[in-house]
């Protein structure tokens, strides 16, 4: 029996048109306590009104700088951090009485960046991979774990009884992927899963992820700060800035035209890879602002070259571009009725 036979996901209840995951108005504010009585002094608005969909079989890439809320979003999805508010709908069933968290986690698994910190150092590789299946009461967790290890390229006879510290970073990340797969998930959230790996190993793991997606019909949410990697693996890209979604679009569309000034800056910050044509000017100055007390209106207006009065006063809403509704952007420049002096002309050069 191969790994494919051992992959028994929950049945598709909503049909192909039903998005696998719908997130509506997700919000998480972390209180910052301090002072003598430990009162809440401020709130980190880590995720503030994030909505998106993930269709069946697609890979959604999430990009943004540190502090933009991409990892918090991932943790909210599987309840590792409780959400303040918002809706999570998995294959048409909202998280709640009909879909308890434990059942959601059968369908959604996660792989983290730090492959060492996420493995229990006292458990053998086999025990780690089999752990979830054991907790969920699946039959023969060890046999299942061996099949999944074999599938991700770790010979079970050689690796089953080793401990995490005996493995290289790339091997440990394969263990984490095997552990996620052992639960037969339909959605895998990969949070910077290849970022800590060396480039040559990263390519191996990306190949593995592509193979697994095709073989098991998986859906991925792929979080990374590396735009080249995100472009390679994703079907659509979602850009976050200070806890909000600023742009979401199919990869080809966003690669051809970055509709949000922040996305444009993020793309221009990529090293050029051309010795004859090196970057001559930084696209943005300064660091991303602190998500504690973010600026009012459009959160990017403090760093935006095109900011006008309206941007300080009113937050733009996410809307499709004229003639390309799949390419959504939250910027007053694209809304003719916004009151921005250059509205309706797109992003100036």
């Amino acid at each position: 029996m191969s790994a494919t036979d051992a992959y028994i996901p929950q049945p598709d209840t909503g049909g192909p048109a039903q998005p696998l995951l719908i997130v509506r108005a997700l919000q998480k504010h972390f209180p910052v306590r301090g002072g003598l009585l430990g009162r809440t002094q401020a709130r980190v608005q880590a995720v503030d009104g994030v909505s998106f969909e993930v269709r069946k079989g697609e890979t959604l890439g999430i990009v943004g700088e540190s502090g933009c809320g991409k990892s918090t979003t991932a943790k909210l999805l599987i309840g590792l951090t409780p959400k303040d508010r918002g809706e999570i709908i998995f294959d048409g069933v909202p998280l709640g009485p009909d879909l308890p968290l434990k059942d959601l986690r059968k369908g959604v698994q996660m792989v983290f960046q730090d492959s060492y910190a996420t493995l229990n150092p006292r458990l053998t590789i086999l025990a780690s991979v089999a752990f979830g299946a054991r907790v969920q009461g699946l039959p023969d967790p060890d046999g299942l774990a061996r099949k999944m290890m074999d599938r991700v390229g770790l010979d079970p006879d050689r690796f089953a009884h080793r401990y995490p510290h005996e493995l290289s970073g790339g091997q440990r990340q394969r263990v984490n992927i095997a552990r996620a797969l052992a639960m037969s998930p339909r959605l895998v959230v990969l949070d910077e899963a290849v970022s800590a790996l060396d480039k040559s190993v990263e390519a191996q793991v990306l190949n593995l992820l592509s193979d697994l997606r095709a073989e098991f019909g998986l859906t991925y949410i792929f979080i990374s700060h590396d735009l080249n990697v995100v472009r390679y693996i994703s079907d659509r890209i979602l850009v976050m800035y200070l806890g909000e979604v600023v742009e979401v679009a199919p990869v080809d569309s966003i690669w051809a035209e970055q509709a949000h000034p922040y996305t444009r800056s993020l793309f221009s910050a990529m090293p050029s890879m051309d010795p004859d044509n090196r970057t001559s000017e930084p696209p943005l100055s300064g660091d991303p602002p602190n998500p504690i007390n973010p600026p009012p209106g459009c959160r990017f207006h403090t760093r935006c070259r095109f900011a006008a009065e309206i941007c300080k006063a009113k937050a733009p809403t996410l809307a499709g571009l004229p003639g390309n509704a799949a390419h959504m952007v939250a910027c007053h420049l694209h809304d003719p009725a916004s009151g921005h002096p250059k509205a309706g002309q797109g992003v100036p050069e």
Partner: protein
């Protein structure tokens, strides 16, 4: 003019519970004012090379052989005061984690001023003036106020600017930068790279920039030396390395960058992992992973093939004109 840097036959072994042959027969030279990127993956020996240049390796557990000359001085012979003057004076270093490298209990102005007082013998007031000037040069806004900030009050990008100001305060001839932008966000990384490029031109110093990211190397350096398993496997101008890489390892790294790979196309990944270096390599260390390996590659260390002036490749098949794939 004397060469800025001349390393010949450098071999470094770490002894202890297990022996690691971290650097194996590395030779490298730099002219005054050059920028060189040392490119390699973790464990390739790039950071060890930098530490050896500053004499920062623990003497009890380290065996070093070979010659390191900076500006004509044999730095392995430096001791006591002379070593102190050399470190931070002639050569200084910017680390990957400025939060760890800066002292949390002193203001950043104090830390820069202290270096200047030590090396240049200036008074406290004069040294603070130098510190202020340095913060201005690294484009820290309202430097006057930032001078009196502690490291934890600054953002990551700002701390790295302070680190650069500290390293450059005594006008070193050679700046060592150990992955200084790896921990930073992309938009901040490009700011720091451009700042370093500008300061390098302004001060005319040499820079060795250690990185695992080819894109970063292209942005910062004129020359690139690729390291693998404690050896330099290829060296040339940035242009030569990017446009005409000859070592299969360099070619693999370029492919793994994903810069212009078709979406969804299968990646031409280098299989396997780098060797553990418990014994010194007796054959080409890349042969077990190499798509072009021949029997001869496994029989002895490949000699350097010199393709042009200061352009060398340690590969038996480097002069084959048809590139892989």
């Amino acid at each position: 003019m004397t060469r800025l840097l001349d390393i010949s036959d450098l071999t470094i072994r770490f002894t202890g519970k297990r022996t690691v042959h971290a650097i194996n027969n590395v030779s490298l030279s730099m002219e005054q004012g050059e920028t060189l990127a040392l490119l390699g993956e973790s464990g390739s020996g790039k950071s060890v090379t930098l530490k050896a240049l500053l004499g920062l390796l623990p003497p009890k557990r380290t065996q070093i052989e070979g010659r390191i000359h900076v500006n004509g001085t044999d730095i392995r012979a430096l001791r006591g005061r002379a070593l102190q003057r050399y470190r931070g004076g002639e050569v200084s270093m910017v680390f990957q984690e400025p939060a760890l490298a800066l002292d949390p209990v002193y203001t950043v102005g104090h830390q820069i001023a202290e270096t200047v007082m030590r090396h240049k013998g200036l008074s406290k007031d004069d040294a603070m003036a130098v510190a202020l000037d340095m913060l201005d040069r690294v484009r820290i806004p309202s430097a006057n106020r930032r001078l009196h900030n502690y490291p934890h009050e600054l953002s990551g990008g700002m701390r790295q600017r302070v680190m650069i100001a500290l390293a450059l305060a005594c006008r070193p001839r050679l700046l060592l930068a150990d992955e200084p932008t790896t921990a930073l966000d992309a938009t901040v990384q490009i700011q720091i790279l451009l700042l370093l490029r500008e300061l390098q031109r302004e001060f005319g110093m040499g820079v060795i920039f250690v990185t695992h990211d080819i894109g970063v190397a292209v942005e910062i350096s004129e020359r690139i030396a690729v390291m693998y398993a404690g050896q330099i496997v290829e060296e040339g101008t940035t242009h030569q390395i990017i446009r005409d890489a000859r070592h299969p390892y360099t070619q693999g790294l370029l492919a793994a960058n994903l810069h212009d790979v078709d979406r969804g196309a299968r990646l031409n990944a280098i299989p396997g992992a780098p060797p553990a270096l418990e014994v010194a390599p007796m054959a080409c260390p890349f042969a077990p992973r190499c798509p072009k390996a021949m029997d001869a590659c496994r029989e002895g260390l490949p000699p350097f093939l010199s393709l042009a002036d200061r352009r060398r490749v340690a590969c038996l098949r480097a002069d084959e004109t048809v590139p892989a794939e």
